[in-house]
Every structure is written in C-alpha cells, then in structure tokens.
Symmetry: C2
Subunit: 335 residues, 2 copies
DNA sequence: TTGAAAGCGCTAACAC
DNA sequence: GTGTTAGCGCTTTCAA
C-alpha cells in the first residue's frame, strides 16, 4: 500500500536530466533555460513530488521550524497567541512544534531540550518562572535564537511582551478613580515569580497616596473561571472587606462575576471587578467586564518578526532588545 | 557567540573511539563493555551532547514527529484535545507540529502538504468539512498513517471520536423528558457537513413521536460565547417560540445564558438550555449548564495509541477502524 | 570489542 | 546548460 515517496531521483530518471538539474529547476534557478525548467516542473507535478524537508534541513543546517513553549495553553490569551504565532510563522514559511509546560519547570526543561535536539531554528517561550531563566539563557548562549513572551528583563533574553506592570497599574488606577480604597487582587502567577501585575497594582495605590496594605493578594491557584469562582469568597472574607477586585485574567474575573450572581453580591455596587486580557468572553459574559486589552496579535507579530530577524542574522552579535507593549483599559459595566 | 554543536565526532575524538562506537554506546548497545559505555556516556554528558534529530531522521526514515491539524483552536474543547495529545505524544517520544485550519479548506490542504514535506510519521486531524475528505484519504493511501478526530466514517479514514449523534440525541431526549416540544438548535458546524448533532437531535424528536420540524436549526456563524450571545435573540424570535435550546458547544450555551440574563429571560423557566462538551466553564458560569460530557482525555488517549500503532506497523494492511466514544449527559441548573 | 565505509535525499562547489 | 562529486550527522552492514 505504502508507495515509496517520489525523490529528485525519480524525476531525474523520467526526464533524463540529472538530480542536480532537477533540484535547480525546482528551486527556480536562473541558470536553467525556461524550457528545461518547465519540463521538469511539469514532471514533478505529475509525479506529485514533495521535497524531503529532512534531507534539505540536514544539508542546509536549517529546519525552518521553530519551537513554541507555552505554559498553560488552556488560558484563552495564550491559546490566541499560539494561534496567531502559528499563522504568522506559516506565512513566513516556518513550521511550528509546540509543547505546554503547564507551569512545571521540569516540563519546560524537557521541551527545550527536545526542541534543541529537533534542531529548531529558534524558540518562542512563555517562561514558567521568571526567576528561573538561566537554563533558557544557556541555550540562547549556545547560539539558539530565543524570544520570551514575558518580561524577564532581569535575565539575558530578548523579550516581546505586554507591559503587565503598566496594565495592572491602569486597572487599579481606574478602580481608585471610582473611589475604591480596599482592593483585592487575584493572581496565580505571583507565586511563580511573575510579580509585575502585583507591583503595578501596588504602585497605583502608592501613587494615589494609599497604603499598599490596602491591596490584598489572593492566590486563586490557577487562572481559569473555576479558580476565580472558588477564590471569590476568600476575597470577600478579607477584613476590611474589599469593595473592588482586580482579577489578573478575564477567566478569573468571569468566575468571580458568576460567584457574585449566585451569591447575591451586586456588581459593581457591592464589588467592582476588573479583568485582564480582553478576551472575547469578557465582552459577552453575564456582566460585561471592564478589562485590560492584551494585544495578542501585536505581541505575536512583533515576536515572530523579531525571531525571524534573529534567525536570519544568526551570527551578528546583538544587544538584547526588550519590547514592551502598553496595554489599554477597556471600561465596561463591571466597574 | 554561536558555539558549533557537539557531534558524535567530537565525542569520538576526545575519547579516542570511533564515531561508530560512540553511536553504539549512546544507544546502549550490549555489544560494548560496560566500561567503554560509561566512559563515552560521561564524556557526552560533559560536552553536553544532544543527538541531531534531523540526521537521525534522515537515516532512519522516521522523524518521531506527528502533525496535528486542528480547525478552531480557540474552541476550548479542541484546545484541551491539543494539550492532551501533545502530552501523550511527548510521553511516547514524539514531537508535535501543529496548524489550525480555522475551518478553511485551503488552509487544511496547505497544512497537510507541509506536514508531508516535513516527513511527519503520522497525522491527527480534525477535518474541516466532512464531505471533503478525499484529499486526506489520498495522503493516507500514499502510506501516511492518518487518524481523524471526527466521525468521517463515510470516508476511508481511521477514526477516534465522540459519538456526537448519540450525544445530541441524549441532550434533546433530556429536553423532551422535561416536557419541551419546541426546540432550537444552535449549530455552526452543520453548514460544514458536520451534521451528526442535528441528525441526533432530530432522531430524538421522532423517537418521541414529535415532528422533526419542531427542531429549528439556527447557524450562529461560529462556536464561541459571542456567537451564542448574538444568536440567542434569533432563536427566541422563531415561531412558535422554542421553550428549549440545544447549544452545540458550551461556549455557545454560555453566550445564550448571558443574553438571557441581560434580557430578563428566565433560565430554565422561560428557556431551558443544554450545552455540549462539558468544559470547565460550563460548571462555573452564571447558571450552571446542563451539558454533554466530551471525554477529551479519552479521545486523545485512544487517538494517540491508535496512531502509534499505525505508525509502528506501517506495512501491515489493516481495515479502517472507527472508534466512537459514547458521551454522557451532565444535568445541572439550566434545564 | 572496535572500526571503515556506505548511504539516507538533498544542495553546492566545481567541472565540462 | 548540465553533470559529477562531496558532504550535512547519523546508523548500519560488514570486516578486522
């Protein structure tokens, strides 16, 4: 059943040219007369030739494949980033291998070394833990172009990311402008060293002359609606009771909204809620959610463009470049 | 900066053995004495050797990579399937390349031929259109193991999927048992030839002695909460007005629930709503959603196991196998 | 117990 | 214009 694959050799034999000429023709070399080229192309078409990417990669020392290491792929914002990155890379002629670390460092390490072994031309990574990026930097130092999608600027990596510190600042600044003084923040990433959002929130408080203790940090142990639903009660049990809540993902925020609906807590009357990411769901949930727009498309485009730059000028020594995209506040009914 | 990669040659030179012996040692050949092996392993470790997967693939005619073609990766059920499949394959020592067709056939075709060119060992695919699978079958016939995650049993492909006809049957049977006679179904896949859910729903009606015309088919033009939100009104404008609605994804259902909340429609009093997929969100949304459990983990495990079987016994001629997993009803507050 | 040589499918330098 | 040859890094006969 399994037909042997068509190689250059087969085309060469049936056209009478050499393998080399066929290779040249298929890649559109100007050295060949139009006639020869057309003839070979036609025969290749007829035999349904597809180039053997593996052989080409071995020879060219380039696989035209990149590795994408994600943390929690179930987070819609990360899913969206993955989708956009895949599209952009496909357009640029690159294939994408992916792996999800699920925020477990060991998984991240394994995925990275698998990608190295697979000889990917570059890696785009959502790091699991911002304080543990040395293993990533080591791979980068060995000559692998790597781009991080989170602001690990303390490390040595190139970065394209949303400015989460600024985003959180805007979210909390908005709450403060509405008169709130006791604010809870739901943040599952804080414990993994991703402290930007908490820091941005704290800065908003202190810039407004409020004590940072007024921000109660609650770990929802995840980033989904289920986690938000379960953490909402804990947030409202704080003393003094918060009048506003900043959920660091929309999913968390939606979970909080639903808990409020089920428990007779009026939003925004009893509790104002701000989300983060501006996922599609935030607009169409029970109470349209005020949120921070995470421009996934922008991040992805920049990231892909930057990575391809790095790949194609591999040997040029470059300084690390940190690109932070400033996110905007989107005001809806929940605040 | 870019250090040249360590090859077998480097290890050979620094240990004094030949490339061949090093290769043997690293793969644990019993032909070598323990001492030699240990020595070589240690040196490989020291030099941080990682095998060149490309070279190995070319030689072995196997890449240990599979291609995953998805439709709408933003659909949480598909995301979950992707995640589980990646995990399972990684455990089995396979890498995963992915592409999303976004339900555009041309994208699917492109992705498939890219994967062929990349010499993947097998392909797992969520087909875009069930009536257009000949191009997939053609690749299968050329010797590529392919497994479909939707019931395209009319075609020639191997299948592991949830029995959506049965799932839809159970959903609508449940609504009928609650006394509903006028039912709307929101289904965006119907127009793409995925008619199982509609057919299952219709069968439930006729088995109950109700005319199939009592099922109003509405195309939400997508599968997300936003689409559900926008389609809800259209559903309730049908005449006679439906008293129950079957949303063929949970996201659609959640969109409907939220529209109802915003428009004073009582659920389940004025409108009973059933979803499909049993996503995490369905449990923690505004009104816990009755739904059909799509056992993504089961589907993924079976699919991966089956694909690996196909890969490893490539030359054995096998009949196509259709595995359909029967889904269960999960009753919550929305009905 | 170890090594030499051929070859996977392709590309590139160099002939002719 | 087109063909010959070597080689990418690895595995696998086959010898020694």
């Amino acid at each position: 059943m399994a037909k042997p694959r068509v190689r250059l050799k087969e085309i060469a034999e049936s056209t009478g040219y050499s393998v080399n000429t066929v290779s040249l023709a298929l890649r559109g070399s100007p050295r060949l007369p139009e006639e020869t080229r057309a003839l070979i192309l036609k025969e290749a078409e007829r035999q349904n030739y597809l180039p053997n990417h593996i052989a080409r990669s071995l020879k060219n020392q380039a696989t035209h494949t990149i590795g994408l290491v994600l943390t929690d792929i179930m987070n819609p914002t990360i899913t969206l980033a993955a989708r956009t990155i895949e599209q952009q890379l496909a357009n640029a002629g690159y294939g994408v291998m992916f792996a999800a670390s699920d925020n477990v460092l060991a998984n991240e390490v394994k995925a990275l070394s698998r990608f190295q072994s697979y000889q990917v031309d570059g890696i785009i990574i959502y790091p699991t833990n911002r304080n543990e990026t040395d293993h990533i930097a080591a791979i980068h130092d060995s000559g692998m172009p790597i781009l991080a999608l989170a602001d690990v600027s303390k490390g040595k990596l190139n970065v394209v990311a949303v400015d989460d510190r600024m985003g959180a600042y805007k979210a909390v600044e908005h709450l403060i402008s509405k008169g709130h003084k006791q604010i809870a923040i739901l943040d599952g990433a804080y414990s993994l060293g991703h402290s930007d959002k908490v820091e941005g929130a704290q800065k908003a408080l202190s810039d407004a002359g409020l004590p940072v203790e007024n921000l109660r940090i609650i770990n929802p142990l995840g980033s989904s609606a289920a986690h938000g639903f379960r953490a909402a009660q804990k947030a409202l049990e704080q003393s003094p009771r918060p009048t506003a809540l900043f959920a660091t993902t929309d999913s968390l925020g939606i979970g909080v909204l639903n808990w409020c609906i089920n428990n007779g807590v009026n939003v925004p009357g009893d509790l104002a809620v701000v989300g983060y990411d501006n996922t599609e769901a935030s607009e169409y949930c029970s109470i349209p959610l005020t949120t921070i727009n995470y421009a996934a498309d922008k991040v992805s485009s920049y990231a892909v463009a930057r990575l391809i730059d790095m790949i194609e000028q591999r040997d040029v020594i470059e300084d690390k470049i940190i690109t932070l995209i400033e996110p905007d506040l989107v005001v809806r009914s929940s605040t």
